[in-house]
Symmetry: C2
Subunit: 109 residues, 2 copies
């Protein structure tokens, strides 16, 4: 049985799928990525833009997104300390696809 | 602060994002959707194509995907009983975007 039934679709690869899903899983990750977009934002700015999320959850999600390679964190040795986040090069490459995921929610709305 | 920093991106909508993510969340949902693609498959065929998944989990995931409106189930009054699954119209519309999610996994591989 051939799986290549429509243009561009190869047999799905469970490992690659779950690697991608790790970046968007949970309630906040994709939202944080789309909110950041092409911007560089301080931790405090992100926190203000995400009023429904606890500091603990936000810090954990940012750490996970940095570990996954989607996002970069830069800390400046200033007083008061300044920490900035932006998408990594790969994160910016993935952004056009990631922003279309919301369109699927619209389609099923 | 303007959020519209790159082409086509509006301020993300958490509700739409999570509606879309419900369709792909978990280890198997997106894999099942991509495997089905434009095909109509019997339950037994799906089960054979997904060797790593228990019958209980597969039945639950199919039920959830039907409830979400991504997939359609058709049962034929035959002996032995025949049950077929295919993507709904909306599911087929979402397919090009959904199949690109795997490309993100490739990018971060």
């Amino acid at each position: 049985m051939s799986i290549n039934r429509h243009e561009g679709l190869k047999k799905p690869d469970l490992r690659l799928i779950n690697k991608a899903l790790a970046m968007v899983s949970g309630k906040w990750r994709l939202y944080i990525i789309l909110l950041l977009g092409e911007q560089t934002l301080r931790y405090t700015q992100l926190s203000e833009l995400l009023p429904g999320i606890s500091e603990k959850v936000l810090a954990g999600e940012l750490k996970a997104l940095v570990a996954l390679g989607v996002m970069k964190r830069k800390a400046y040795a200033e007083m008061p300390p300044r920490v900035e986040y932006k998408l990594s090069k790969k994160g910016r490459l993935a952004l056009p696809i990631l922003s279309q995921i919301q369109d699927i929610g619209q389609l099923f709305n």
